[in-house]
Symmetry: C2
Subunit: 375 residues, 2 copies
């Protein structure tokens, strides 16, 4: 094999479903994956060399350091792990980008510095930051921890100074960001990949619907040209300002006039991009593998309209797991099932179902059917 596709090894910090799907996409590219993940039952064990040790284990990190490059499936990587790896192996994205994306306040400041719009916000890191913060944002907002929040966790909606103080106490008085409410009409997202040499490629503009703070559906119809062009320009500006090496996903609020504000940035593939696995094109997972290893990049907009519905653990009133109707899902044209090999737990992402259709209208109507089959 020539240099482009000579055998390579990719290290991943983390071994959950994102690592599993990265590995499934890496293998056909001639890439072997090594996943450092303490959970012995993590999904990536099935298709990667699994280093079942803590994220800061020196022997495990030394094995990762022998890979051609290291990437990550979650942003809250222990700094000690980065300290060990940096200088020994390219870590993509690296500390510079993670400093933004793993910390809500730095992220918002970094987005503004790159020229991207965000919700108004106030940084709450000390008692003295509380006074006047809410008034400055119009009297209501959402208090969010700056670190470690995901899937709606670590957030409190507040409408008075008393509620703000109570919420901050409740969140443990850790550094937070108080965000003003955004009167958005919908949420969309877009992925961008960039190699160390500066080549860029983009994913599709995807429309997302959340339920209980967790992504429920993502839809790509191909009909969002204007919003997509705007999202790409923002993504390009942020990727270049932050020196992205790898792939990141921007979540946006769309305002009534069409303007996009960045809600948050994930330094990796994203749940809203799972639909790219089955639309007939390149998947976001292959795109991240390529970007991290410096392989040629292709855009990853699906040729076909595609959608995704998450399968999240739901307990019924009797405490038993409510099951998707797998038989009916299989019988619906254009569905593909993706399971993560995880045990059921209320609120846990267990898998997703992708749906492709020949046109946007058929996609929307089958998606409505599919949603009825998944609790």
């Amino acid at each position: 094999m020539s240099d482009t596709f000579s055998p390579r090894t990719l290290g991943i910090l983390g071994g959950g479903q994102l690592a599993q799907m990265l590995a499934l996409a890496a293998i056909p590219l001639g890439v072997r994956v090594v996943a450092l993940e303490p959970d012995p039952q993590a999904g990536a064990r099935l298709c990667a060399e699994h280093l079942c040790v803590p994220y800061t284990d020196p022997a495990g990190l030394a094995r990762l350091a022998k890979c051609d490059a290291v990437t990550l499936e979650f942003e809250n990587v222990p700094l000690e792990a980065l300290d060990f790896l940096e200088g020994r192996v390219p870590v993509r994205p690296g500390r510079g980008l993670l400093a933004h994306s793993k910390h809500r306040a730095r992220e918002k400041e970094g987005l503004r510095a790159a020229g991207a719009g965000t919700a108004d916000f106030a940084v709450i890191e000390a008692e003295s930051d509380l006074a006047g913060a809410l008034a400055q944002l119009g009297g209501q907002g959402i208090l969010k921890t700056s670190e470690l929040g995901y899937d709606g966790k670590g957030q409190r909606r507040v409408q008075s100074d008393a509620e703000l103080r109570a919420a901050w106490d409740d969140l443990g008085r850790v550094p937070c960001v108080l965000e003003g409410l955004v009167p958005f009409t919908r949420e969309v997202s877009l992925g961008v990949a960039r190699t160390a040499s500066g080549n860029l490629a983009f994913g599709p503009l995807v429309e997302n619907v959340h339920r209980d703070g967790i992504l429920r559906t993502s839809v790509y119809t191909g009909g969002d040209q204007r919003a997509e062009a705007q999202a790409r320009e923002i993504a390009r500006a942020v990727a270049e300002a932050w020196g992205l090496e790898g792939l990141m996903t921007l979540e946006f609020f769309e305002l009534p006039g069409g303007e996009l504000l960045v809600n948050e940035v994930a330094p990796r593939v994203h749940n809203s991009g799972h639909l790219t696995q089955d639309g007939g094109g390149v998947s976001q997972f292959a795109a991240q593998v390529r970007a991290v290893l410096g392989l040629p990049l292709q855009g990853w907009k699906p040729p076909l309209p595609t959608a995704m519905v998450n399968v999240v653990g739901v307990d019924g009133l009797d405490g038993q797991a409510l099951e998707p109707d797998w038989g009916a899902i299989d019988a619906l044209p254009g569905t593909q099932i993706h399971l993560y090999h995880k045990a059921h737990r209320q609120g846990r992402k267990l898998g997703h179902v992708n749906l492709t259709a020949p046109d946007a209208e058929t996609l929307r109507s089958r998606l409505a059917e599919l949603e009825r089959l998944i609790p």
Copy 2:
């Protein structure tokens, strides 16, 4: 998870690229794969539990017997392995079907018994079978070993009784079939899957071009309705007559008038079905996993026109490996690379490139470009 998608384990006899791609398709279905394969460097080791022992190893077979079902990636399974497994675990396809498909003479007889057309043939198993055999087939034919032939190996073209005798000597006087020449206009193939309960599903009708006895390109445009309907009827008849459990692929010769004769049958996914990985639909690999485990079947015709070009090891005049132009392949819209993690060797299948396009005309023109990039 409900019964349909409760965790399952699939055993595979063999661990090469077909097993690798079966495993990559199985994991998203919640299925773990165990591959019994003596080659320590076999591709399936990357995404399956690899039992690196001989095919007849009792401990290895005992591990396979604990799976929910066992399938195979090659037809020449040692009978001892089947003897051990049968009765302990469902083996799909099993001995009944393999008795046909692994033996060219039995295969042709079984096809005729199922009502399928084949080339005229004479069975050559003893010295006395030689006399008059060629004359009966019009004076020329191809002598093929009944067992163990693949990719054009174990075949000799003959045009006289003297050549026939010499060829049979050359092939070691093993049981052979002498096939009459078929004036075919093209070669096509089609996969059929059948569960133990009798449910059937079909793949696309694919047009194949061989080079030096090895598949070079496969093309699916969706425009072959009449040939596809005929191929399905033949596949259905053979699947039912032979009691298929699992997936098999029929290769056909198309005669000038459009009639299809069955050339041979592979009791598994087939190189000509690799294009189903990237056309936006179900892949042949997912179909085999589902059929073998008795999961609901979906047809696996791609929604988009797709093609495939094999990457086969080619030595240049200087003895160095000739490389595909990977950069140009990546730059061609709609390509996806699939590598098997195998070392270069002249004539060895090392990978394939799939190509999707919005319409048949674009597909054909990009395929011509793609072929120029792959030696």
